[in-house]
């Protein structure tokens, strides 16, 4: 007692951080010791970002953190303060508009989050407090509270199970919303607890909160009057996690150990950070370049201005005196304001309108995904859902696809396909009509009258019926006692509950062959055999499944008094334990089934003599009670028991793949994406799924890095890990032939394909400090593998993997697909998160960026929509920078001819309207409707996806190309017109043109050139494109006439009065406009023509001819 007290003191003293002590029901440890209630966080979940007071400042801060917004703010302020060539309204109004709209949108989103939080936090729960049960709001639960939960309710916080309404001290929960496993899990009460919780005086010691869902270590001290406190160890099987749902148990009570943000669910939840697309990063990059151009332009102009002014008579000639105010201004201040003025004059090079247009394009463009009928699933009657429109183009850039298995790749719907008894294949075929016939006769093999003996068959089926932990779902109240004959049917309708869906599949499979499992009642298993007789077996022991042993067994006693051990498990774990010749007969079947993607299990049995059983029984009981090394001891006994068995047969269970899963995966791989399967599931299951959807193929060499392979070596885990990693690295990376061209890597079939398998435990080992330097090794291996499978992953580990890959060199774009709550963290972590609208709740859908009903839709989403969106937005961005460069370059050049006086070349109306009206609509239409290759071809030729891979259209090459084009055209516009204006008498009446005519000619040439340049790039002319392109040119002409046609009373200066009309009366002006437009487009036309015809074009041409043929055919046959 003293020692323990000391220990406890020491324990508390040395590591407050290591463990926490919970006083169950807030009872004191002992009256003698002072009771200091420790402070833990309350049970409130906060996922919202803003509160009412901090919304405005915080939101504004976040918005102005965006480089562009900040820049525009600065420009606006400069325009307000300094005398600048343009009015502050020109930049202030758009900025205000953008900021307001964004703030409203974000505010609304946060309000929704507040609502959702409140729903959880205000949920009423029952708490036992001082003998009374009181209703409380969920957020008020404190650590130590004893909480009552009813069936189908979710646990409000992490609880240690104290009491269950079930007799055996168990309860069932489903953790579907936590880790995606929809099966029921059994949890146990802490042993030896008083039935009356009010009398319970106990303390609980457990570790500090940590995110691993499957780990929990604790001790409970139960103190009774006058007795030494009893110590009970606590494990994960005692812990009920927040977010899990109570099933099949009417009521439980538990003590809260972790609350609020410290629950395992909250620790696994990652804040939804704002995702930025690569394109946005590119935009920011270009923005910086343009900002530099802008700054240097302003700097050059300012410097030259002052150099120029130093010459006598230039600064202030007699005809152009300064005002008194200007004369009084300090020289340096003047320089500075001049600099700012130049900035403002040239600031159109970075247009606000681009951001508006990009936002608009994204918003409108994403509706095409929502509208797509191909994404409509008649079953759930829903189409695709777009939660964020910021990432459309990212869909065209994906390099790594992380997919969940259960519910995403597969339907999570296990089905018994076939079995093999003594080497004979039994397929459950078309004989469904025969109600209970064991229809071996129909199987192809059995046509040859070769089948196993009836006895063996029955033994096999009995094994299937007995060797499992399936429970029959209890009938609802009100159902009378079912009579024996109808029992099977009743069972069938009630359904089964099991910790693994394939167990159910096996039981159901046996049922098809005439053996029904009726239920477990008082440790008696009842089965109905083929002759409708009920057989009863005493269930003596269950040797539970575990992933290391990879098998499970039951020991039953038949009515005849025989003690039998049935064992089922993975082939590799069974084969060494049975006789060699039996293996020979079955192995081929098993291997064939495995490569077909079925889950195969081998079934074996063994008769136990009475003595053997007695001995086993004794040792099992003993081991179960052991406090130390319980697991190890049990495993030893299991190992001893499961030897010398007889192999009866094997089963094949299929986890049905999602529709077109194989085709989709193939398409993704062809498109150059690496597919990673991240699953919480067992390795075998996951592996077979990978085989089934052709991620692994027969010739794929698997590199395994799992607990099993680590332990095989018998060394220390770390050492073995490093050894294996180095070995794999040598094989997959160093020995692999050097990749040709990077893009066409995994194409040639001659190259050995590698598949990589890693499990959660190994991964965490790998990521821990001593090994973490090997992570790059690990990633390099993965890069060279066709597919990677990560099994036994906790949700957070999935996110960890995604982050790991995301942060590698070149930061590849990652995409996560998932359907369950366990995928949420990886969906949030990846660049793009896709939710599948499956049947595991809406968590994934809610947190995803895009949600589609089925996996197969991924193909069109990525290859079709993604590719197009990327091309569209890339063109949009490049085009915007280009058109503003050639817009502002002449204005810059003009400064050299106007004494660096910040004189705008164009009229203020043109300056403002250029980006808003004259040139914005065509590019918007382009960026919404362009299909440089039509969607069908994109989907059929996944290779085309590689053309835009790695941000191909927004790299420095294309950017320089566009910039060069902009500079060329800007120079051409200015100097072309400059040459013309050497003699400004351009009309046949000898009258001369002034500076506004000069600007208007340049501007006209520019508007036409820039619009026609886009027309040249448009490959898909719908009527909208026609309307918008020709329409905006017509609008420009109309506007210019209109603007110059009236003396505007609100204008201070009638600069453009009749300038445009007068211009058009000059033949020379017409000629120069035509000449300059042609000349500036000439290099583009040449480039397009001389560039090698790309594969896509040839495809397009081919497609077109075939489409024409098709249409002809249809019209001939009268369909159209």
């Amino acid at each position: 007692m003293i020692r323990r007290g000391l220990d406890r003191l020491l324990g508390r003293g040395e590591g407050r951080a290591d463990s926490r002590t919970v006083y169950v029901g807030h009872g004191a440890w002992s009256p003698a010791q002072p009771f200091t209630p420790p402070r833990y966080c309350d049970n409130r979940i906060v996922s919202s970002k803003y509160t009412l007071w901090n919304f405005l400042p915080k939101n504004l801060f976040e918005q102005f953190r965006r480089i562009a917004n900040f820049y525009f703010l600065i420009i606006f302020l400069v325009q307000v303060i300094v005398d600048t060539p343009t009015s502050p309204v020109t930049s202030g109004l758009p900025l205000f508009f953008v900021i307001t709209v964004t703030a409203i949108k974000q505010g609304f989103e946060d309000w929704l989050r507040h609502k959702a939080d409140n729903e959880v936090n205000k949920y009423p729960v029952t708490v036992l407090d001082g003998g009374r049960s009181t209703r409380k709001e969920s957020e008020k639960i404190r650590v130590g509270d004893v909480v009552e939960v009813l069936e189908d309710e979710t646990f409000p916080c992490d609880l240690v199970l104290l009491q269950s309404s079930r007799d055996d001290g168990t309860c069932y929960v489903t953790t579907a919303s936590l880790d995606g496993e929809s099966n029921h899990k059994t949890h146990y009460t802490v042993p030896d607890i008083e039935t009356d919780l009010l009398l319970l005086n106990a303390t609980l010691e457990c570790e500090q909160p940590q995110p691993d869902l499957y780990k929990f270590v604790g001790r409970m001290y139960i103190r009774r009057e006058g007795q030494e406190p009893a110590v009970r160890s606590l494990g994960p099987e005692n812990l009920l996690l927040k977010g899990a749902t109570l099933k099949n148990t009417s009521k439980i009570s538990g003590v809260a150990v972790y609350t609020g943000m410290e629950t395992k669910m909250a620790l696994n939840y990652q804040g939804k950070s704002q995702k930025r697309s690569v394109v946005e990063k590119s935009i920011n990059c270009f923005l910086v370049v343009y900002l530099c151009i802008l700054l240097s332009k302003a700097l050059v102009c300012t410097t030259l201005k002052y150099v120029w002014q130093r010459q006598p008579g230039q600064d202030e000639p007699w005809y152009n005196q300064k005002t008194q105010k200007e004369k009084d201004t300090d020289l340096y201040l003047k320089m500075f304001t001049d600099f700012l003025s130049f900035m403002v004059l040239f600031n159109f090079i970075i247009p606000v309108s681009m951001y508006v247009t990009v936002e608009m394009q994204k918003f409108l463009g994403s509706s095409f995904i929502t509208w797509d009928r191909d994404f409509y699933d008649p079953q759930i009657q829903e189409g695709a859902l777009v939660n964020t429109s910021d990432l459309n183009e990212e869909l065209g850039q994906v390099e790594h696809v992380f997919t969940d298995k259960t519910g995403t790749l597969t339907q999570n719907n296990m089905e018994f396909i076939e079995c093999c008894i003594d080497g004979f294949q039994y397929k459950y075929g078309n004989c469904a009509s025969e109600l209970d016939g064991f229809c071996v006769e129909d199987g192809p093999v059995n046509k040859l009258q070769r089948k196993a003996g009836r006895e063996r068959e029955e033994l096999f089926l009995r094994a299937l019926c007995l060797c499992h932990t399936v429970q029959v779902k209890e009938p609802g109240p009100g159902l009378g006692p079912v009579d024996q004959v109808d029992a099977a049917r009743a069972v069938e309708e009630r359904g089964f509950i099991a910790s693994s869906p394939d167990e159910v599949a096996l039981v159901k499979g046996a049922m098809r062959f005439g053996f029904s499992f009726l239920g477990l009642d008082c440790m008696k298993m009842k089965i109905q055999n083929r002759n409708k007789e009920i057989e009863e077996y005493d269930l003596l022991h269950v040797l539970n499944f575990d992933p290391v042993r990879r098998r499970m067994s039951v020991i039953v006693k038949s009515e005849a008094g025989e003690t039998l051990l049935f064992c089922k498990g993975a082939d590799v774990s069974i084969f060494p334990r049975v006789r060699e010749e039996e293996v020979m007969r079955i192995r081929t079947h098993v291997e064939r089934n495995a490569t077909e993607g079925y889950r195969t299990l081998c079934v074996a049995y063994k008769k136990l003599s009475t003595e053997a059983f007695a001995q086993a029984d004794a040792s099992l009981r003993e081991a179960r009670l052991a406090l130390q090394d319980r697991e190890e001891k049990l495993l030893n006994i299991y190992d001893q028991l499961e030897t010398g068995m007889n192999l009866i047969g094997a089963t094949a269970v299929e986890d049905r793949l999602q529709e077109e899963a194989t085709v989709t995966m193939e398409a993704l791989q062809n498109a150059g994406m690496k597919v990673w399967v991240l699953t919480g599931d067992k390795m075998e299951t996951a592996k077979s799924t990978c085989y089934a959807c052709r991620l692994f193929q027969r010739r794929t060499e698997l590199l395994e890095l799992t607990v099993r392979t680590l332990e095989a070596g018998g060394q220390k885990c770390e050492g073995r890990l490093h050894e294996l990693l180095l070995d794999y690295h040598r094989r997959a990376v160093q020995d692999a032939p050097p990749a040709k061209g990077g893009v066409s890597r995994s194409w040639s079939s001659a190259v050995q394909d590698y598949g990589f398998i890693i499990d959660g435990a190994t991964l965490s080992l790998l990521l821990k400090p001593p090994s973490s330097r090997y992570t790059s090794l690990f990633l390099e291996i993965c890069q060279n593998c066709a597919a990677v499978l990560c099994c036994r992953m906790a949700p957070l580990q999935k996110a960890q993997i995604v982050r790991l890959v995301k942060n590698t060199k070149g930061s590849p774009i990652t995409l996560s697909v998932g359907d369950g709550a366990n995928d949420v963290s990886m969906i949030l972590e990846a660049h793009v998160g896709i939710g599948i609208k499956g049947n595991e709740g809406r968590q994934a859908v809610r947190n995803s960026d895009y949600a589609v009903p089925k996996l197969k839709h991924l193909r069109k989403l990525l290859l079709g929509h993604g590719h197009l969106y990327y091309v569209r937005i890339a063109q949009l961005v490049q085009y915007f920078f280009y058109k503003n460069l050639c817009f502002i370059l002449p204005q810059f050049l003009y400064q050299f001819f106007c004494g660096y006086s910040q004189q705008p070349l164009y009229d203020a109306a043109y300056l403002m309207m250029y980006n808003i009206c004259f040139t914005s609509m065509p590019i918007l239409a382009y960026s919404l409707f362009e299909q440089h290759i039509c969607i069908e071809i994109l989907m059929d030729n996944a290779i085309l996806y590689r053309e835009v891979a790695r941000n191909a259209s927004l790299r420095w090459g294309p950017f320089l190309h566009w910039t060069a084009l902009g500079i060329y055209q800007g120079l051409l516009f200015f100097f072309g017109v400059h040459c013309l204006f050497r003699n400004p008498a351009l009309q046949d009446n000898g009258q001369v043109y002034g500076n506004w005519s000069f600007g208007t000619i340049v501007f006209t040439v520019m508007v036409f050139t820039v619009t026609l340049k886009l027309a040249l790039d448009t490959r898909h002319w719908t009527w909208i494109n026609h309307l918008v392109i020709w329409g905006s040119l017509a609008f420009y002409v109309f506007f210019s006439f209109f603007w110059g046609g009236i003396i505007w009373p609100f204008l201070k200066q009638q600069r453009l009065y009749f300038v445009f009309a007068n211009l058009l009366s000059s033949v020379s002006a017409w000629l120069v406009i035509i000449l300059l437009i042609l000349l500036s487009l000439l290099p583009e036309v040449l480039l397009v023509v001389l560039r090698k015809p790309r594969a896509s074009h040839i495809q397009q041409l081919k497609m077109r001819s075939s489409a024409r043929k098709h249409r002809d055919f249809l019209s001939n046959t009268g369909v159209i």
């Binding site: 005809y319 152009n320 106007c898 040839i1098």
Partner: protein, 369 residues
């Protein structure tokens, strides 16, 4: 089992289909099958290849070269004569005038420049004055005007815009026309005499109207309308620009060319695009069919030298020029057209060769694949 599950499915389908509103809902949730929403709008999909652009190149080439030649010939046929009369050199006749200049001198300084035309100028001849290194396009200068005042607005007449500073008011009186542009109105007077071979100087009639844009003269610039028809009464209460010697209503005797609608003022107010510019000064109209407007021979240009340009290293020129349909003399357009036309033609030929060679090869590749 199989059968039952099948029937269950059937039942499911039945269930979902049966309730009316549910069905309607489902229908409305299914995206519309419109060509627009499904991105299946009929579209024209042009593909630029050597074959398709080839004709365009040839057409451009064939069109541009003749146009260019036409332009070049036209420009070359335009006669132009230019005299710099700034008086920078000691030898030049206007040296004295340019040297001792003061705004306040009442006695005008005159100088005359003699020149001869080798070729007769047919048809109308246009007389320009040209200034160099004169920044009419300086921002401070360009905005220093009040268009509303010039448009005849009485309020602006009395209270000119702030933009006119520092030429807004003088001695407390508003300046009309205000601003730096008007203040610096070009005020040299140029007269042209034909030196008859027998020694007499025949003055050449210079027409001072028709030199400004029609719309400027008739709409944009208007005299303020006062009670009387007398312009000076309307401009009562305003003062002349600082550097002017006369008031704005004294610019001309012709009432249609006086005040704000004086064409010299209007031409000056249209600020030039570049620091070296010319402005139309006078028109010498053709007299009859028989004689050229300006026959071959010697001429004298008589200059009343008022406008100082030496202080900012400026130059003053007088230009005599005929005009064609394309305007004044400027070989640029002709040369540019010829060049572009030739380049296009050349490119057309190159493309033709490429098309022949490469096109057949790509066809082969096409078939092979």
């Amino acid at each position: 089992m199989m059968a039952s599950s099948y029937s269950a499915k059937e039942e499911d389908g039945h269930h979902s289909g049966a309730p009316g509103p549910g069905g309607v809902n489902a229908k409305s949730r299914k995206p519309d099958n419109t060509a627009f929403k499904q991105q299946r709008l009929p579209a024209w999909q042009p593909i630029l290849t050597a074959g398709t652009v080839l004709p365009a190149f040839f057409i451009i080439g064939l069109l541009f070269i003749p146009i260019g030649i036409g332009l070049y010939v036209t420009s070359n046929n335009i006669k132009e004569y230019e005299i710099d009369y700034t008086g920078v050199d000691m030898s030049s006749p206007c040296f004295n005038c340019s040297q001792n200049y003061s705004w306040n001198s009442t006695k005008p300084c005159t100088c005359s420049v003699a020149f001869s035309l080798d070729q007769p100028f047919e048809s109308n001849v246009f007389m320009y004055y040209g200034l160099s290194n004169y920044y009419q396009n300086h921002r401070r200068y360009v905005k220093s005007r009040d268009d509303s005042q010039l448009n005849g607005n009485l309020n602006s007449l009395k209270d000119p815009s702030k933009e006119c500073e520092p030429y807004r008011t003088n001695d407390g009186l508003p300046i009309a026309p205000c601003g730096a542009i008007a203040n610096s109105l070009f005020n040299d007077t140029l007269e042209l005499y034909y030196n008859d071979p027998n020694g007499t100087k025949i003055p050449i009639r210079l027409v001072k109207t028709g030199i400004a844009w029609w719309t400027d003269k008739h709409v944009k610039f208007r005299n303020p309308v006062g009670d009387g028809s007398n312009l000076s009464a309307v401009f009562q209460g305003t003062t002349k620009p600082v550097n002017w010697q006369k008031y704005v209503y004294q610019l001309d005797t012709d009432p249609d060319n006086n005040g704000f609608i004086n064409e010299d003022l209007i031409v000056w107010m249209r600020t030039a695009a570049l620091p070296t510019f010319r402005k139309l000064y006078r028109i010498i109209e053709k007299q009859g069919d028989a004689t050229p407007t300006l026959p071959r021979g010697n001429y004298t240009l008589l200059i009343t030298y008022n406008y100082p340009v030496r202080s900012f290293e400026g130059r003053k020129r007088m230009i005599l020029s005929t005009i064609s349909w394309m305007g004044g003399k400027n070989p640029f357009l002709g040369i540019a057209y010829i060049t572009v036309g030739s380049v296009c033609f050349f490119l057309g030929v190159v493309l033709l060769i490429i098309h022949h060679k490469y096109g057949s090869r790509s066809n082969n590749a096409d078939i092979a694949s």
